[in-house]
Symmetry: C3
Subunit: 354 residues, 3 copies
């Protein structure tokens, strides 16, 4: 697909320096761009690539020094965001799946919207309702009474268990599992675990995106809920009865234990762990690898395990690095006190002796 | 399914206050219960929902204050456990899979027990023995010479590699992998990794349950073994030659390195990591996110990384939080000593001068 | 398969003590070995099994005390490595997959090398090129324009997304996902996440091995690259635009954030987390559970979070364990200073009074 720089710049409200009639056919990283590519420069650490990039055009900030005249500049206040919008508009990949494959099993009771595509060996069980323009890739399995809203994409080898409810424009990446049983047992008189049937479901509201190899357990009772716009990265664990508020995001390998409630606009970085039955209020950011074992009632940034507000955490960490010096210093002080004591005793003696 | 409160209460040996003839058709959380539902109250933090719940009946402790008379009470010593037993007895979901689907491949050499159900596109390779009443869901793949005991459930997209042995009443949730190769290499003279063939298998004994997206590697030699009643949560890693004793449980995202041996009745919380070639004795509890790099020979509760017994760990953490104050205090003491020294010198001078 | 001890020892250049004509038909761990088995002894902690092992022959170090004469000894300098080579040579399991199954879908445009085996319900989409002697197990899904080099093995339920490039002799274990979308969004004016299309791919070079349930995201632009000989354990997260150098290894449940560059011969232990946009130089070892948030420019061993060089880290940890004592000591010093001060004041008074 060839587009003139003029059209691209117009779309993002940019200011062009150079030949606006040149054509762009791809988007690329600055260090890999070839002639015909559009690139961008945002982070200072990538400036070193500017003198050598072969890109035809570059999206930059308004104050960028235009030291080359063999490249076309498009100036905008936020080059990274503008570049993202250009990719969405002009370079979004086509999702290649059309029609209902003859090897797919769609139970006769399933309601299918128009223009929905179903790949090879897909299983859609009785009672499901699938919306319009949905794409369900090869070898995905959807058990009974699952709803999937319009324009959603289910990638290959995804498993969705019975009774789960998936909204519109939801994306579930390959090999993720929605609605597996929660980890619920009680101990019998012999100390063996007895399984508590998990009779709830999972609800993914509109515009939720789920990474690959994610596990979202069904509720013991009621629903595990991810609200509108929640984004979940790969290999995340979401236990039974968790709820996550609108527009929150959870990075890779983070785990959220049972019945924990997370507010809106919360960001959990990677490998974070949240205990069960706690509440995290809105607008909280938790840094990578933190462990949260109690409620967080105040918006802000938290870090560590047990997590503290970021200032306290960094302060403690700084002191921790100096702990060997402190130990040394304590020893020194001890010595000095000993010396002083001796001096005083000597003085006292000499006084008494005087 | 409608059951009278009388029948339910009788099953758990409860004491009814209210109309024992009323009928229950579902179990629900106290805050979501509707007329016709049974609910329970156990944890004090949920008492706030009692005045508003629409449940028809509620399982409570014997000392519960019966401030409402539009709800039927069932009193038992352990409402949570009693409620779990009620769900098991009356509300267990039916596992919907019957017959052997014509799209499934079952090698002619496979021995199949009575009443076993095999879903669509399932592959069961040569030499497998599958017991009675087993359910194997769609798109699961079972390679050669795998045994699966009676009444086990294998969910969709599960992979079981050759020669693994699965007991009776085992449940394996969707997309888990049993018997992938252990991570075993040696370095050749050029520093490249050379693969060591992993020629062992995995043994899951009776009543084991495995969550979704779990990886259990086959042994390099011999077997990786999970003994009777072991419960494994989602996204857990179990490396080659690990063994886990009876009735132990491993929470989500925990990883157990190669050849480590874990005793009976051990509980590993979430995101714990265990080094390889270590032993954990029986009746050990390890808190979330801990790292264990040496043997644990004494039953008890452990926490931290490197993990210490819980008391020591909490003590150190408390001191850690006060580390900035300690640093401040050290500075103060230094100042005070300096002042004292000056004083003493002054005294000595004045003494000597006198 | 029966092989004489003479042949085995000859292959690894060993020195035999005992009957070299005896035959071996399997390899086993020392504690589980049966007559006919070959075993080895390397780690001192396994010496306790030597008196009881039923193995026919044992690979040992040259200085091993031959206290039994009912077992044949093969002496070599590195018994563990020699044993690994023996397994590779004589006991490697056969990978059971032959021919192209009639239930597999191979798009007519796909180029297939000789002797390639494709299992049941496999999907290989348009434009793919598959080399010679490749084995693709049941229910794997490979989308458009994927290349797979000679002698590679793709296990069951693996998902490979469009345009990814897989080298020769690559192994991908069950249920892993290659080329899922990177976790890339920008915030719109309402604070909602807008998806940035991920238009790059994943490149796995020759001799790469990927564990089970691994997620490797496609690049936003360009490629996520794992170079020759990289080995990845189970449940690892590799985010968009990561690159990993030759002969590096990543243990289970480790996560590498977006655009991070890792050098050659780097070892990341289990549950390590790396921040995005950082660089790790060659020959770095990072211990389990460490968190790396800045560049590492110097080869060496690192540990902790934030990670420090191993010496510093262990020193701080040792001091941390003594922190309660330090706190006690500070209190004592405070008391002593108080006492000294009183003494001095008394002395001064008695001086002034004299």
């Amino acid at each position: 697909m060839n587009i003139t720089i003029e059209v691209i710049s117009g779309f993002i409200g940019g200011k062009i320096t150079g030949d606006e009639k040149k054509e762009i056919n791809n988007a690329a990283k600055i260090e890999e761009a070839k002639p015909g590519d559009l690139t961008f420069l945002y982070h200072p650490s990538y400036e070193k690539y500017f003198p050598l990039t072969k890109a035809t055009a570059i999206v930059v900030k308004p104050d960028f020094k235009k030291t080359r005249n063999d490249i076309v500049y498009i100036e905008v206040p936020e080059p990274d965001k503008a570049f993202a919008k250009i990719i969405v508009k002009f370079f979004s990949p086509k999702i290649n799946l059309e029609g209902i494959d003859k090897t797919a099993f769609v139970d006769p009771s399933v309601k299918l919207g128009n223009n929905t595509a179903i790949g090879k060996n897909v299983v859609i069980s009785a009672g499901c309702k699938i919306g319009k323009n949905v794409k369900i890739f090869h070898n995905a399995v959807i058990l009974e009474n699952v709803d999937i809203g319009d324009d959603s994409i289910i990638y290959q080898n995804v498993s969705i268990r019975e009774n789960c409810k998936i909204g519109a424009r939801v994306i579930i990446h390959a090999n993720s599992v929605i609605g597996s049983d929660g980890f619920g047992y009680y101990n019998d008189e012999k100390g063996a675990f007895q399984k508590i049937p998990q009779i709830g479901n999972v609800v993914l509201e509109d515009d939720v995106e789920i990474g690959s190899n994610v596990s979202i357990d069904r509720a013991a009772l009621g629903s595990t809920i991810l609200k509108r716009g929640v984004k979940i990265d790969n290999l995340v664990q979401i236990a039974h009865n968790v709820s996550i508020g609108e527009d929150s995001a959870v990075a890779s390998q983070t785990g959220i234990s049972g019945s924990t409630k997370i507010g809106k606009h919360v960001l959990l970085a990677g490998q974070v762990g949240l205990a069960g039955h706690i509440e995290i209020t809105d607008n909280v950011i938790i840094y990578a690898k933190s462990g949260i074992s109690t409620n967080i009632n105040k918006p802000g940034t938290y870090f560590g395990y047990p997590a503290k507000d970021i200032k306290t955490s960094l302060k403690i960490e700084a002191h921790l690095r100096r702990l060997p010096q402190y130990a040394e210093k304590i020893k020194e002080l001890e010595e000095q006190i000993k010396t002083l004591k001796e001096l005083i005793v000597k003085n006292t003696d000499s006084n008494q002796g005087s």
